[in-house]
Symmetry: C2
Subunit: 164 residues, 2 copies
């Protein structure tokens, strides 16, 4: 797991994206507002949102009227993409090739084929992500209810200025 990221980051990321999925194309929501909505520590949630932006799951506009919105339609963004963006997928199994170390180290020739341990772990990871890649943000209900979230959003979204 990357330094500074909490396992809870995954929960926050998916819930945040489900709320952003309710925005109209010309709307965006500041990270600070998302933190209020879920009563989360703003600094940690901001890090999670930055991860999502780097991964291209959300886009952000900076400035006083800035905020986040999804980078694509909710039906086109899978839970798997959100989870990958948090770094959880890379943290599942870290192969450091310890078979190549110590008094009984495998030879470089033996290490040309993947380690059997890493192979099994990778297969499990693929099964994990396969489940998450089959579910899009549009497939999930908004926890807490869509109506309440939409009402709250109406009061707190920023409208994107039309380009002149």
């Amino acid at each position: 797991m990357r330094s500074g990221r909490l396992p809870q980051g995954v929960e926050w990321a998916v819930h945040a994206c489900l709320v952003l999925a309710l925005l109209r194309p010309d709307e965006q929501l500041p990270a600070q507002r998302l933190a209020e909505l879920f009563d989360l520590p703003p600094a940690y949630l901001a890090k999670v949102m930055q991860d999502l932006a780097v991964a291209g799951v959300v886009v952000s506009a900076s400035g006083r009227h800035g905020g986040y919105r999804l980078a694509a339609a909710p039906g086109e963004l899978t839970v798997g993409r959100v989870v990958r963006a948090t770094g959880l997928a890379e943290a599942l199994f870290v192969c450091t090739e310890i078979r190549g170390r110590g008094p009984c180290a495998a030879t470089p020739e033996q290490c040309r084929t993947p380690c059997a341990v890493a192979t099994v772990m990778r297969r499990a990871e693929m099964a994990y992500l396969e489940v998450l890649d089959a579910v899009s943000l549009a497939d999930l209900p908004v926890p807490g209810g869509r109506a309440a979230a939409e009402q709250w959003l109406t009061a707190h979204v920023h409208r994107v200025k039309e380009r002149s």
Copy 2:
């Protein structure tokens, strides 16, 4: 992920168990020796081995001639059990029920059914563990080769004293 555990702990745990799988029923190997074999930091590996002992994957005998051995035959211990023992499985998704927080919080009634996000994440976790539960330690080759490991073990194992 539990405090103090590294993601590499999973790699170390599985490799350590594959070596312990080569021991005869009356043999045990000190954690310090396992650390030498893989050229790993002894203190961290000792923590991983303690996790495995707590989970019942290995058993340890303390004292000057103490050491670790598998708690069951290699064919009866799955990679899934080893991975669970490291705490990785619990760290995959942590649900803190954030849907029950903030201005649009779900009601206690709504929270009686599991959160849709947690449900999807749990389904993925089950797919992950299902792959690992289908592979036993006996199914995996010893990375680096069985012959070299057995030769090294002959020189470094402790024989369990026969009870008088």
